[in-house]
């Protein structure tokens, strides 16, 4: 059996398989303990033939030129979260797995796939791609966290955030992640390097969901001038803070 991979069996019908690769035997042991209720070791050899969906790096390691790699969670080539210690990485993994577990094909709900930044029960969504704003120090200092997810659900005027996958947090000595079921969407941020028109920005943001509810929500925010266009990371950061009503840290 492959020594660095766990396979989780998720979904209401337990018919979804997710491979998670760990960066060390210690990390693997942590993952196995944390997600013990979801493991399917019988499928490890089969999934080992495919690239894993997620890679978890829980240890900080020295690299060349005196730099260190920080704990992080990777989905393919994208780093979803990077942190000074393992806990936020594990929380993010649980959040993503929770979304995979909850989501059903054709469940009739309006799922939207944009990056989410939250402060309290308020959230903004943006299509600015990774690695921009990953582990952004200024946002963190202002009390803004990126909510790592596998899709958010449009729920009336709010967004529903799927719960993290239930896990054995006590067994690994970590507090479970905080979770807000519903958050208020305060605005949208479009990554725009070509000075698109308002209609074009709406079209761009609308493509991140196949639901008319999302289109209506995005159009409503656009009408209320709560859609900001930004061309770079700095602009995105400023827009996140402005839309969430947070003060920029000095």
């Amino acid at each position: 059996m492959r020594a660095d991979l766990i396979v989780l069996r998720l979904g209401a019908n337990r018919d979804l398989l997710v491979g998670v690769q760990a960066d060390s035997s210690t990390s693997l042991a942590t993952l196995r303990t944390l997600f013990a209720d979801w493991l399917d070791d019988t499928m490890v050899d089969e999934l080992a033939e495919l690239p894993p969906a997620f890679e978890v790096h829980l240890t900080s390691a020295a690299t060349t030129r005196g730099r260190r790699t920080l704990p992080h969670l990777r989905y393919g080539r994208e780093v979803l979260v990077r942190a000074d210690h393992a806990t936020p990485v594990l929380h993010a993994l649980a959040s993503v797995l929770g979304g995979i577990h909850e989501r059903r094909p054709d469940d009739g709900r309006a799922w939207v796939h944009l990056r989410a930044f939250a402060s309290g029960d308020q959230m903004v969504l943006t299509d600015i791609a990774h690695p921009h704003l990953v582990n952004d120090r200024q946002l963190l200092a202002a009390g803004v966290n990126e909510v790592i997810h596998w899709g958010l659900v449009v729920d009336g005027d709010a967004l529903a955030v799927p719960a993290p996958l239930p896990a054995r947090w006590e067994a690994v000595g970590i507090d479970p992640p905080d979770h807000s079921d519903n958050v208020r969407l305060c605005g949208l941020i479009a990554h725009d390097r070509s000075r698109l028109s308002t209609a074009a920005l709406l079209a761009q943001l609308s493509t991140h969901s196949t639901s008319s509810h999302w289109f209506t929500m995005a159009a409503d925010l656009t009408e209320r001038a709560q859609v900001h266009a930004v061309s770079d990371r700095s602009g995105a950061r400023t827009a996140v803070l402005a839309l969430l009503g947070c003060e920029s840290p000095t």
Binding site: D15, G19, P51, R77, T198, F215, A219
Partner: protein, 123 residues
């Protein structure tokens, strides 16, 4: 009238399952059936708004020539182009609508039939 599938007496009708947002003269149209988004420029948006099944093409041309302060033969060209574009996008009711092409994404499947959540393709 230039060669077109629309005649002066045609009364183009927008299909039902759409949501439209108008900003600064442009339109963004969401179509429920195909989960598609279409962005229309100012002239196409103006034509789209007129596709109510009652307004004739001739009326559209006259009205939009006044709105855009253009001569009628130029407006005719713009209106007909917009209508053909809307028809090509299947946004107008047709007597014999084209079948909607669908793309089916096939997930990896395990030997027991379970769906495998895979690694995203490189972009």
């Amino acid at each position: 009238m230039a060669h077109s599938s629309f005649t002066p007496d045609s009364r183009p009708l927008a299909i039902d399952d759409t949501e439209t947002a108008l900003f600064e003269g442009e339109a963004v149209v969401f179509r429920e059936a195909t989960k598609s988004i279409h962005r229309l420029n100012a002239s196409a948006a103006a034509v789209w708004v007129c596709c109510d099944g009652e307004t004739t093409v001739a009326d559209m041309i006259a009205e939009l020539a006044e709105v855009f302060a253009t001569v009628e033969h130029e407006t005719e060209r713009v209106v007909l182009e917009a209508l053909e574009q809307l028809a090509d996008l299947d946004l107008l009711v047709r007597p014999n609508p084209n079948p909607i092409a669908t793309v089916t994404q096939v997930d990896d499947t395990a030997s027991d039939g379970s769906r495998i959540i895979g690694c995203p393709p490189d972009t």
